[in-house]
């Protein structure tokens, strides 16, 4: 640390008019924006889908946006989305959401069974069949 500071001062003396450009070494150039934690992200989305008067467009927009992220949504977010489908009398979207979760897992084949296991009470309560039960999981 000390040696490079001396070098820097030496360099500064060579280039006379450039003193303002020598950055102090102690500060890193990271952004100062606040990073959202995973829990905040999850609760934000759960709240989004929990809106009682969520309309069909907002459900589609929310779901398509969520699928666009580089992550597989937590079961609690999906639970909230499935209940929103129930409020909107939209069974097809509920099944589609489960298909999308499986697709988002990609090569990690343990994620989808875990999600279904977590959602099983909700699926049974609302009467949502999984794609496997309907036979559309394969061609």
């Amino acid at each position: 640390m000390m040696i490079s500071a001396a070098v820097l001062r030496g360099l500064a003396s060579l280039t006379r008019a450039r003193a303002s450009h020598t950055a102090p070494l102690a500060i890193r150039c990271y952004s100062h924006a606040k990073v959202e934690t995973d829990e905040e992200f999850d609760s934000r989305w759960v709240t989004y889908f929990s809106k009682p008067d969520l309309d069909a467009w907002e459900l589609r927009k929310g779901m398509n946006t969520l699928i666009g992220y580089d992550l597989v949504p937590e079961p609690k977010i999906l639970d909230s989305a499935l209940r929103a489908c129930r409020r909107l009398d939209d069974l097809a979207s509920a099944i589609r959401i489960l298909e999308a979760v499986k697709d988002k897992s990609g090569p990690h084949q343990e994620i989808y069974p875990y999600v279904i296991q977590e959602l099983r009470p909700t699926l049974q309560e609302l009467g949502i069949s999984t794609p496997e039960e309907l036979g559309i999981h394969t061609v």
């Binding site: 589609r60 939209d90 069974l91 097809a92 099944i95 589609r96 009467g127 036979g135 559309i136």
Partner: protein, 173 residues
């Protein structure tokens, strides 16, 4: 156009056949207009957009409307076939059908090779029937004299041509 209309009628002959009656596509089919209204939301099958903007089937028959009414009640009372029918009303292809892929690449590759071969035939014919004789400087006699001359003037003596000629034994190394 005619082929797709025949296809639509063929599909409609089955029970719950999946026919897109979403307004844009249907208008194009029934009024024989090739213009799709691109300002209206369209149905699409995309993995990254799981919930499309409009359902696949918009103009529901009476039976389909009854099914939609039943959907408003508890879903536990729907049979598997009814759930599947509801799914197919809104979505044309399931995820696995979307990801299926086709054998089209074989056709493409085969077509490529066919045209490569055809071009090869044309090139061969051109070489034989269009091109004239090569210059006389390609004849064996000329090349022999040329090679001897190159050896005599020590062309590329370090690493190249003359380096490969053994001047003592008067032969190639």
């Amino acid at each position: 156009m005619l082929a797709s209309r025949a296809l639509v009628r063929g599909l409609q002959s089955g029970f719950w056949r999946r026919v897109s009656t979403s307004s844009g596509a249907w208008a194009a089919h029934t009024h024989d207009v090739d213009v799709l209204d691109c300002s209206a939301p369209q149905y699409n099958n995309r993995l990254d957009t799981p919930l499309p903007d409009v359902p696949f089937v918009r103009n529901l028959s009476a039976e389909q409307k009854k099914l939609k009414e039943k959907e408003k009640g508890p879903w536990t009372q729907l049979t598997k076939e009814e759930k599947l029918a509801i799914y197919r009303l809104t979505h044309e292809l399931s995820f696995s059908e979307m990801k299926k892929g086709s054998k089209e690449w074989m056709t493409v590759l085969g077509g490529m090779f066919f045209f490569f071969g055809f071009t090869g035939l044309l090139v061969w014919w051109q070489r034989v029937y269009v091109y004239g004789d090569v210059p006389h400087t390609f004849s064996q006699e000329w090349i022999d004299k040329q090679t001897q001359r190159m050896i005599d003037m020590r062309v590329n003596p370090v690493h190249g041509f003359s380096n490969k000629w053994d001047y003592e034994k008067k032969q190639w190394k």
